[in-house]
């Protein structure tokens, strides 16, 4: 199945989806050393986003989150791609400076955790 959205940052990635309906704050909400979500009460609390296609509605929290994403990329703990329902500036800038393929305006309800995805950041297409 093909889902068409809007390209935010270029690049191709292929991997397993990890999906949440909660917003994500990388600053304070994700541990950049382990790649695990540490925000108390978050749907993904305790789970690692490293090497996965991270699917969530939108970003939240401090603008420092863009720098946290950059640090995860350098630590090899970053997700390999990001899919959002509606991008915000923190996640967009984070993907650009960290070079993580990113697509938004995707109907994320149609994606389930564990599904294999191909993310085409050049054209804004996600294939399940």
């Amino acid at each position: 199945m093909k889902l068409t959205g809007r390209k935010i940052y270029k690049g191709m990635a292929e991997g397993e989806a990890i999906v949440t309906n909660d917003g994500i704050s990388f600053y304070g909400g994700v541990d950049p050393d382990t790649g695990k979500v540490v925000e108390v009460g978050h749907e993904l609390e305790g789970q690692s986003v490293t090497g996965k296609v991270l699917v969530f509605p939108t970003g939240k929290g401090s603008t420092v989150g863009s720098y946290t994403m950059y640090r995860m990329k350098k630590n090899n703990t970053a997700p390999i791609a990001i899919i959002n329902k509606e991008i915000d500036t923190i996640i967009a800038v984070g993907c650009i400076i960290s070079e993580i393929p990113c697509v938004d305006k995707i109907d994320i309800e149609r994606i389930k955790t564990g599904q294999k995805l191909i993310v085409n950041g050049d054209d804004g297409i996600v294939t399940i």
Partner: protein, 397 residues
Amino acid sequence: MKLNQEEKDMLDGKYGKATQKSMEILTTLGEIFDAENMIDVFGVQIAGVSYDNLGEAGLEFLNEMAKDGKVRVLTTLNPAGMDRENWRALGIDEEFAINQNRAIDAFAKMGIVTTCSCTPYLIGNNPHYGQHIAWAESSAVCYSNSVIGARTNREGGPSALASALTGKTPNYGYHLDKNRYGQVLVKVNTPIKGTDEFGVLGKLIGDKLGELGKKIPYIVGIPSATIEELKSFCASVATYGGTALFHMDGITPEYNNYPKPSKLMFEISQNDMKKARADLIDDDIEIDFVSIGCPHASIHEIAILSQLLDGKTVKKEFWITTARPTKKIADEAGYSKMIEDAGAKFAADTCCVVAPIKGRFKGIMVDSAKACYYGRAKNKFKVKIGTIEDCVEEALK
């Protein structure tokens, strides 16, 4: 988004990696916010300077950009986490100082003027009416849009840096006339005077705008305001209401440019002001720290402080936070000596919001509503607002 040849070349990497990365940030933001084109900016002011906020990740990004990035327009910095000369006397530890200097070195390598101030308009990074800029510090964004009539969105650290390295910003938001109309009419029915009262007014208006889900107030009923009062108001209304632009009848330059808001309106009485002031005074506060200069003290404020402190001795930790060039004017005028002889300390380049002073004091007295907000939220102090004279009196007790 339409790009001209130079902008396309930047995006294609013909001007180097940092410029390319910058143009990627700006074009992506432009696409997200439906900008039609890029515009040239006159100047830039970058936030995210304190190592307390940047961390190692932010620093790594700055170093990467500094490899081949050079600014194309006048660019200054927001306050750093410490006074760059006097950090030891102000109790900053050595490891923090080293890391803070690494960040400032990266900015310097890119050709940024490393004057660290939240009042760029007082130290020569000063646009005129109608000019487009890319500033990040929220109080300065509000001041430049409203008091000067320049045009900027509220930029983040990386997007402001991207504008510095390209000289461009995407044309959306406050750069466009259609987004600069007042949305809510605010009638002030009581006299407002002094930096503290203008701060209290900013909190009141900011809180009400939040309830209404609006950002741009059109304020009537203020017959006059000084630069110091307006900078205090800007800091407060930006902190409590997220406001980047206001109009003030007879005072700000664009007050007559657009249709006035007619549907939404609220009034402010003396009683409202009293209640809002009470919100900025904590019960059972034990004051062990007094600070003036949020936003950074002007030379006029420092002159007043020197008169109030002349020949006296403070009994509490007392910081005057200001821009280094302003401190130098104060040195030449003899104000610094009067202030330092009284035992008060200058903390140039930094401020109480971004310095790593969490938990160091129990209670802070200030003349700034913004400093109250961050004193509580970030540094876990109890807070009290008062006039500049009240603050000095408290420090002498």
